[in-house]
């Protein structure tokens, strides 16, 4: 099984707009990501990182090219199947947290399980333990506006992992956090990686990328560097080009 990549991108392009105003956000990206990999995506602003992540997360479709998820061409999936994939297979963490406002941390984390049709008792148990795993067992009834940025992002992580997905995607998860919260969140990602999940993180920060075993660098919608780091390589090597 480990021969088949979890994620296989073949010549993915994404174009926005028409004629004069056309933007080529991705210009032929091909990447294979193996099961259990810890991958960081870097690149300048506007280089297409989020666009790529949205395609990987099945939130958006490429203009051209093929995307195989666990060997299945995503283009062949209907909207119901895509919903199931987003619910069970992928956990998405956004830079801006994207918690549902006026809704408690517990209810936010429980929601993916509601959509998965999990029974109430089990739902409660799993939502609680997911929140405990990010150190927020005592904040179940707090609404997002009663939580700090780092706490909100940890709620978002709990929500992403509550359905036990094999892939966790994070688009600049620490972009809005201070260094202490950043460390908390990154420790959590390390943990997810150790649990055997495939973790993909978009980041601008070297100390974030440093934790990943593999770093992909984008420029103008194309992959310009794909480096596997054995152990913890010095950050200077990745940061040199910045």
């Amino acid at each position: 099984m480990s021969d088949t990549p979890v994620i296989a991108l073949r010549d993915i392009t994404k174009t926005y707009g028409e004629s004069a105003t056309t933007v080529h956000a991705l210009r032929g990206v091909s990447i294979d990501i193996a099961h259990g990999e810890y991958l960081a995506i870097m690149g300048a602003s506007g280089s297409g990182k989020s666009t790529l992540m949205h395609i990987i997360g099945c939130l958006d479709q490429p203009t051209d090219g093929q995307y195989f998820l666990d060997g299945v061409p995503v283009a062949t999936l209907d909207s119901f199947a895509l919903g199931v994939v987003r619910n069970r297979k992928i956990g998405f963490v956004f830079q801006s947290f994207n918690l549902i406002p006026r809704t408690t941390a517990f209810a936010n984390v429980e929601l993916p399980l509601v959509y998965a049709g999990v029974k109430k008792a089990e739902r409660r148990e799993r939502a609680r333990s997911a929140l405990e795993s990010v150190g927020l067992g005592d904040r179940l009834d707090h609404t997002p506006n009663q939580l700090s940025g780092g706490q909100q992002q940890r709620v978002a992580i709990a929500r992403a992992i509550v359905t036990n997905p094999s892939i966790v995607l994070a688009d600049e998860p620490t972009g809005a956090l201070d260094s202490e919260s950043t460390a908390e969140v990154l420790d959590r990602f390390d943990g997810l990686h150790r649990e055997g999940r495939t973790v993909i993180v978009i980041t601008h920060e070297h100390d974030v990328a440093e934790r990943a075993a593999r770093v992909i660098r984008l420029r103008d919608g194309a992959v310009i560097e794909d480096v596997r780091q054995s152990g913890h390589l010095p950050s200077s090597r990745v940061g040199a080009q910045r």
Binding site: H54, G57, L59, D60, S79, F80, G83, V84, R86, N87, R88, F92, N98, L99, I100, P101, R102, T103, L111, P112, V114, Y115, A116, R159, A160, T163
Partner: protein
Amino acid sequence: MNFSSVTIALRGIIANKMRSALTTLGIMIGVASVIVLVGVGSGSAAASRKQLEGLGSNTLTVIAGGFGFGRGGGTQSRKVTITDADVKALEDKQNAPDIAQIVPTVNASNATAVLDGASTTPQQVQGTTPNFSSVRNYPVQYGRFFTQADYDAHANVVVVGSTVVKNLLGEQADLSSVVGKPIKIGGKTFSIIGVFKTKGSNGIQDQDNLAIMPLSTIRDTLSGNSGTVDGLTIQAANAGATTAAQSEVTSVLLAQHKNASQSDYLVLNQASLLSTQAQNNRTFTVLLGAVAGISLLVGGIGVMNIMLVTVTERTREIGIRKAIGAQHSHILIQFLVEAVLLAGIGGMLGVAAGVAGTHFRIVNVQPLVEPYAVFLAFGFAVFTGLFFGIYPANRAATLRPIDALRYE
């Protein structure tokens, strides 16, 4: 649909209190007006029905017509009269086989009644025959009605309606207490021998503001004896015979009065008039209901409007939900439940307001709470929420996750 959809939807409603309140208000007004207006329609129908019952069964009313303009002219207001001889002729089974009973009445106008120093002027002071009570459906509650013996003796006895007693002794008066007491009417003294059972209003007038005495007595005391009567109530042999009785009355009267024409006598088959009126009332009710239904429809469009705004405002939230695995049906149900809840709450408040509203008299009609109107209005309100919620809910559900997430 599970409990969570309801919770999620309720949360949405509470988060936008003002807007939700205004929407509910629209539905509430629609539902309340359906209940009240249908209530007015059926209330006025009930009033006619009561009037019909008040008349007694199978009765015709005969009034000498041709008021004022006839050949008689001058001060005489009536061209023709109904005489005692006419009554005799009508009683003849040969001439009028379909007539069962005849109740002649003679009126005394503006006779003031005085009891224990208090005075009132009953709407009607009438002399009549002992069969009045049964034919006109005026049962006596306390004491008794006058008998043929009283009639033959020209006894100074009177039976009064409850309003007369209340006007004399106050609202709380013990109706039975007046039985046996002397009362002065038009300056003459009578003994009260009975009080009629309260009939209430017939929708036009109070049916209890009257004093009834033997016809022989009233001629001796108040009206004088001209050998004529002011009106006749005729009871047909059975319900099917009223039309036949009606034509018999007309032909007997015309035979009696050689120089009168058919239009000189008004023979009212009030039962049939009232049933026509009841028919009109039904049309009226439907019309009122339709007007109210339109306001309910407008309320429904209000729900749609609010739901569209809600969907637009919560586009990003819809994107988040889709990103974590919400299916089309989840979003659809969430917004549908919200729309139906809004409409349902409005409908419930409307039922409360409408039922409360029927406690007031409207255009002199006491509205009735019609269960069918309540259920129909409430059901329609919920249906409105469902119907007008489907479009916005579906629009929300079909949004692509990335578009919804990017929405600002």
